[in-house]
Subunit: 214 residues, 2 copies
DNA sequence: GCACAAATGGAGGTTATGTCCGCATGGGAC
DNA sequence: GTCCCATGCGGACATAACCTCCATTTGTGC
């Protein structure tokens, strides 16, 4: 970023100015209306033509990527904090999932494009998603090594479960209670029952019987 | 339904004919394109003007309700079959959740309107959703009475978790594996660990600590 | 057949998306 | 300072979808 035009001219100053202004406006707008709000409205609120908006961010997703970048740094900091705290692996995983949850709750309607991105591989958001899955996998693996998480659970599933939880509760629109209960439900899903007997720690139960793929 | 005009005239025959034709076309169309496909296309494929389509089904949701009605009967039959089978409560709940899963997978994109409906209370789909939640609650309660499901789990959450699972896996578009793993994750969430010790059966663990509502 | 209520169909208002191109504006040479 | 021109701007426009309204057609009862 900020690499100047190596050929002849410096990039015009108004360009960068407009870019950041768009980002400010979009941040506010998405915060109010959710990520599905009309792009037009952002351009209008920024006092720019639609052409300019699309020149800077050719798709809604591109705009989202730029907006999430700032928050991504914050999330990364939180990840480090969790790791340096050196708490037990389950607490760490829980903390990370909560951080992830908050990240996905940043804007209303965010889960949908993230889900899309984690499937399609063609979206600019894909890399972000894969990073998030990777970090989730990092914490999950630690918990599994300690025998505190079922070994058959995957990082991708946990990530998707966070998306699903946020999606289903409508990003804070709807009842908090269901959201929390769902989170608890999922936690009970991955967490291993009890280290309070001295039986073999991890998989006291085998992988649950999955129905054949019909 | 099919109550004739009590005032003066019988309802015109072409009306009912068009209605059923629209339903046939819509069933196929939604099956192919998902429930978000353009309404126009349905009208066109049925050889009708958009006005006629909207006269019969004023909203996309109204059309969905009519389409789901047939499948709802099927689901109801399945419910009865499960109950008459008289299997154990956990198996019954599992079977019901699977039936529900298939119901929600009927059309691509179905989870979204159902979620909407189960929140808004203004949608024509709302009643359907509430019926589904009620039945889920029926099977869940039985399992809880047997101490085979965590007592703090609610019917609504289970229903929403089915919606969420289907949503996140993109209604059979995406990887089956993640979908099944998620289902397993959730099942581990609600199912009570083990009747293989003769300890008090149900809540071996208290309701998990929910974080205070921030 | 005839009259008329009922139903049709498509034209059209509205809102959103994304592109294209004439125009203005900022950067650099002098 | 001023002039040139590449760079970026802005909004008009092409496209697509939604949904409504009303002139026209069509089926029903007599």
């Amino acid at each position: 970023m900020s690499d100047r035009q190596n050929s002849t001219r410096k990039t015009r100053s108004d360009k960068e100015r407009n870019r950041t202004h768009i980002l400010e406006v979009a941040e506010q707008f998405f915060g109010e209306q959710g990520v599905d709000g009309p792009m037009q409205a952002i351009a209008k609120r920024a006092g720019l033509g639609p052409g300019t908006l699309y020149r800077h961010f050719p798709t809604r997703e591109a705009l989202l990527v730029a907006l999430l970048e700032a928050r991504w740094n914050e999330l990364e900091a939180r990840r480090q904090a969790i790791e340096e705290r050196g708490s037990d692996s389950v607490a760490a995983l829980k903390a990370w999932l909560e951080a992830l949850h908050e990240f996905v709750t940043a804007f209303d309607g965010l889960p949908a494009p993230l889900r899309e991105a984690s499937m399609d591989n063609t979206s600019p958001l894909t890399i972000t998603c894969e990073d998030l899955v990777a970090t989730t996998g990092h914490f999950l693996a630690a918990a599994q090594r300690d025998g505190r998480a079922h070994p058959w659970v995957g990082a991708r599933e946990l990530f998707l479960s966070v998306l699903a939880t946020v999606w289903v509760t409508g990003a804070a629109l709807a009842d908090q209670a269901s959201g929390q209960a769902l989170q608890a439900l999922l936690r009970f899903g991955w967490e291993t029952p009890l280290p309070d007997t001295d039986a073999p720690p991890a998989d006291r139960r085998p992988r649950p019987d999955l129905d054949p793929p019909t």
